[in-house]
Amino acid sequence: MAMSPALSRPSAPPRWQDYVQLLKPRVMSLVIFTAITGLVCADSSVNPILGAIAIFCIAVGAGASASFNMWYDADIDAKMRRTRARPVPSGKVQGSDALALGGVLSMFSVMLLGMTTNWLAAGLLAFTIFFYAVVYTMWLKRSTPQNIVIGGLAGALPPVIGWAAAAGSVPLNAWLLCAIIFMWTPPHFWALSLYTSEDYEKAGVPMMPVTAGAASTRKQILIYSLLFVPLCIVPVFTHLGGLTYLAVAGLGGLVFLVLAWRVFKSRAGEAAGERNDDGLYDVKGGSKDARNLFAFSILYLTLLFATLLAEHALGLPPVGVL
């Protein structure tokens, strides 16, 4: 990877907090949440100490893949407003340090997870790190507008790893949790990219609005939403979700579809400069509909997993239609 001298030379001595930032703590917190859901939904009598260490290993593995991503993507991160303050492009940490941290934490997390729980979970964690760092970051991200569709698998696997850590196997319901996150990713990220596409274009990342245009992206958001919402109801039929889950998935799904329809009918992503500098949610004009879907998608997924987590933690019965 070609790296400019400005990216490889630190401007100030790195602090330990800069290394923590390499692990993308906010993404890590989502991984922890979905992995805990998988672990609890397995309904296995896993030792709580080993369960906690397993979740810790999954979080560290996610941090390791983030560190690889920070190393490899430093050149394009430097060109985008959202990412230019990251430790490597800002010169706080050398790229080689980010690469070394990713390597060390990968080995540590996979080996410790294998010793703590089982090697199926450890193998899945190793595959997830590989998929995010190599398949998504090094290959898909710069080469195809389907990057976040296929790459979304890396973000969808933590509940499967959590399930495997608890039960030693990965049944259909574990993959159902994976499928829900996988199908959620395209409408979620494309809604965001509709009003951040200028950044992606500047960095040469072929996100869908850059390559196919805003109208095509809005149509695909609607199509994926029409597939995603019914999928969220499926756990009710597989003894995974209960009545509370059905209510949350059904009502939230209706709101999701209404917001996706509004994005489809809007002109989001067609005018330049609709995003202000104050963060991901500060937009104007037609992009407000895209912003609303992006924000609600996070809430909806959180509610779905929180409901499943609560139902299984409290021992509430699934609907069990089948």
Partner: protein, 50 residues
């Protein structure tokens, strides 16, 4: 153009912070391996045929 020289005090403070974080990380690793070993062995140690 010459490189800006880092402030020695800032440099030392940053290095000290990194060293402490690394030490804590190593201690955490040792504790985790110890705890995992003890929990996984559990009562099996006492059940060994002597």
């Amino acid at each position: 153009m010459s490189e800006p020289t880092p402030d020695p005090t800032v440099e030392a403070r940053a290095r000290r912070g990194r060293n402490i974080a690394l030490a804590l990380g190593l201690v955490l690793f040792v504790v985790l391996v110890f705890v995992v070993t003890v929990v996984r062995m559990g009562g099996n140690v006492g059940l060994r045929p002597l």
